[in-house]
């Protein structure tokens, strides 16, 4: 080796030390969390919040104002609490039930929890189907906002009505929808939107919030309903993407969160222009609230709770990602949104069954 090469080699060895030490230190968050350097907060979150946690503006506020970098992994809300293994700083499911289920086995590990966002469960469908439902008197349009009578819609499915029966094909004989009316949700045993839909379904076939006295009677029907749907996506983000990409034939009516459409329109203005007259959101009457509690499992997780309550983050979460605020003193302004036909408030809400009842429902559909 010539002198220059030796120089390079020595330089490399020094670099290896520096990088190696830096790497080892960065692996050990205890060494850095006490300082004012960045803290990396590791955790699991539902697919519906990926857009928010990938938002450069929000990432920047977290970093500049709170010195926080979030290292997240996507997981279904139920899955993340059921398959929980120690390690993450936080879990961020999208319902209270997940929190309650987590408390059952891991109460002592929770350092804090707080509802950060809210979003109602809605149905996404297509203009043709929505119009047919309006003609049937099952859906209504009021000031641009579409609502649907949840019980009547579910009855169509339970009675095995076809798209032909409800008149969804009458104006489009050359582009027919084949088969029966179906509502596709995510997997209730893995994902929150599916889980909440199962709760809503159970309530409606039980004539009110399903309880210990009538859950046994409802279970077989709940089980059959989901069995008939077959394979269900484990995440609401994936289902919404499929709804958009595979279209009306494949995904005629899906269960989702209100925020998904707002976020999609914000992220894809050009695409939104193309599809906005075709896709339709139906607000179920009644619906259920998806509340997003952040479960902190470490001090760093607690810091993330405080950071996410930042006014500006809450505003961005609504305007760009469609999450209604979970913080008491923040109001969401519909006129701030880039799209119309979103109701100011969600009025007809039914409570979810208790976690113990939901656990029975999950067992039945698994």
């Amino acid at each position: 080796m010539k002198g220059k090469q030796w120089g390079t080699l020595i330089g490399i060895i020094i670099l290896v030390f520096v990088v190696g030490i830096g790497y080892l230190f960065s692996r050990n968050s205890d060494l850095t969390s006490g300082g004012k350097g960045n803290i990396t907060v590791v955790g699991n979150l539902g697919g519906e919040k990926i857009g928010l946690f990938s938002d450069e503006e929000i990432i920047k506020i977290l970093k500049d104002r709170y010195h926080i970098t979030v290292d997240w992994r996507k997981a279904g809300s139920i899955e993340m609490v059921k398959d929980y293994k120690q390690g993450p700083d936080f879990l961020f499911p999208s319902n209270q039930v997940a929190l309650e289920l987590f408390k059952n086995n891991h109460a002592e590990e929770i350092k804090g929890s707080e509802i950060i966002f809210n979003s109602p469960i809605v149905f996404y469908t297509w203009n043709r189907i929505a119009d047919a439902l309006i003609d049937q008197g099952i859906a209504r349009q009021n000031n641009g906002v579409n609502t649907v009578d949840t019980e009547s819609l579910l009855a169509l499915v339970n009675e095995g009505k076809s798209w032909d029966d409800i008149g969804a094909n009458k104006n489009d004989p050359n582009s027919k929808l084949y088969g029966k009316v179906t509502i596709i949700s995510t997997d209730p045993s893995k994902s929150n939107s599916g889980n909440m839909f199962a709760g809503l379904y159970a309530n409606l076939i039980s004539g009110g919030v399903v309880n210990d006295s009538n859950i046994a009677a409802a279970l077989p029907q709940i089980k059959a309903f989901f069995q008939n749907l077959g394979y269900l996506e484990p995440s609401s983000g994936d289902l919404f993407e499929q709804y958009l990409k595979t279209g009306m034939g494949a995904k005629p009516i899906i269960v989702g969160y209100e925020n998904q459409m707002i976020e999609f329109a914000e992220d894809n203005p050009a695409v939104w222009e193309q599809v906005k007259d075709r896709m339709r959101v139906l607000y179920p009457v009644p619906t259920v609230w998806s509340s997003h509690p952040l479960i902190a499992l470490s001090d760093n997780g607690k810091k993330l709770i405080e950071a996410l309550k930042d006014k500006e983050i809450q505003e961005l979460a609504w305007k760009k990602h469609g999450f209604r605020s979970g913080i008491v003193d923040i109001q969401n302004d519909v006129s701030a949104l880039g799209i119309g036909n979103i109701p100011e408030t969600i009025d007809s809400v039914i409570a979810m069954p208790t976690p113990a009842i939901m656990d029975q429902i999950i067992q039945a559909v698994q």
Binding site: I12, I13, L15, V16, F17, V19, G20, I21, Y23, L24, R73, K74, A75, W126, N174, S175, K176, L177, Y178, G179, K180, T182, Q227, N228, L229, G230, Y231, L232, E233, P234, D238, E241, Q242, L244, K245, T246, G247, M248, G249, A250, A270, V271, Q274, V275, R278, M279
Partner: protein, 534 residues
Amino acid sequence: MIKFGLLRRSFCIRASMLTLLVMTLLLSGCQSDLFSSSSKTFVILSGSENKPLEPLVKRIAKESGYDVSFDYKGSIDSMNLLQADSSRYDAVWLASRFWIELGDQSKKVKLTQSIMTSPITFGIQKSKAEELGFVGKDVTIRDILNAVNSHELNFMMTSATQSNSGLSAYLGFLHALLQKDQALTHDDLQNEALRAEVKQLLQGVNRSSGSSGWLKDLFLQGDGSYDAMVNYEAVLIETNQELVKQGKEPLYLVYPTDGLSIADFTLGYIDNGDADKEAFFKKMQENLLSESTQQEIGELGRRTGFGGVVANRNPNVFNSEWGIDLDRNISPIAFPSSDVVLEAMNLYQTALKKPSYTVFALDYSGSMANNGETQLKKAMETILDQEQASKYLLQGSDEDVVVAIPFNNQLIDVWKADHLSDYKSLLEQIENLKADGGTNIYKASIQGLEQMRNVDTSKYNVAIILMTDGMSDGSYDDFAQTYREVGKDIPVFPIMFGDASDEQLNGLVKLTRGKLFDGTSDLISAFKEAKGYN
């Protein structure tokens, strides 16, 4: 750049002592990386039908200084690979998100997005489709069953236990013939009448394969001898473009109203903890989903766009003359839950698929002694031992026929198993034989043909799987003469090992429309793959 190269090799970094770490780096393969400025590698585990997109992906990646390579595997294989060890790959791109979900048990796949879609349909020679009355009207799976039952239609389809397109079609058959229009259940699979009808329909399969891409190549090689094929719309479009170029009759695409599936070609990142790779992946994925690239992907016959409105509607690609109507709704079946799918696959393999007639011509020449012989015997055990075979969904049905022809420069013997119960003694015979002598692949292959000369091969999915490790004596012409005399569509699937001549083997492949499998690095995998084609 250097920093990146080091971090990437996290297994080096994990060495507890830094000095040791430096030594390791300098002495091991990591060294070359330090000194070279070669581009960074990124490996995608992918379905074979993505091959036409490889140049596009490579072009996008180049801007970021990445050298992307594709490892093409069937969906089932990919699922197994993800389950076993996903750290070998940086990304996964399969026809259906379902397989990623099933394979990703260590939860390392993230950032999954569908890049494009394509329905799985029937492509039928247009004159044949007209004859069957399938043009310009709604066609159901029962119409296709009727055409098969009246011997008016045969079709090629990939194996439902190896490939997503074959499985999707098969699930569509079950779904449609059940006429329940709800997702299949375990109970439905016990329905004897349903089983019988699907079995009849699968009798219409004249050639099968483990991969959709290869099925297209086979169709084109057939030069008009095949009527129809089940495949992705995108692959059928590619087939038609080629047929038109050759001045031949294109296929007419038939979309059964009651048994369709749509592939969503999901691309996901496999997180092995490399931030630079993740950033590159995001950039690449974003580019693939950008409007201009989506247009390009549309040019390749893949559907892009949102809300059922196909973005690229190039009429030369999505040609209405070929039966493609982008405004028609595609109403796919409800995909069954994963445990029902797995049960349906086992049912296909053991009872419903067209039975296989497989001749294994096995090289026992002297050069096979020791390592080759051991691997060969292990490979045959993997296929014949039903418990092992079922792990790869390669188990047999009781109607399958298996013939083993051990050979060197002479035929050593011919052993036949007509029933599953005969496999054990067949395997014993294979295991007890010792390697010795020279090599003549032609004699053994001719014997394979002779074996099927008087068999009604329309009742079987036939193949000669020829495993060899050396240059062969004997004459290709003798084989070719017998092949023509026998006059049946019997493919030879050679498995190359040791010093085998690919020139000699490719001669057989070309004549019989077979496929060469490379067993030089892993003979057992090559046997599994070849069996998956039969």
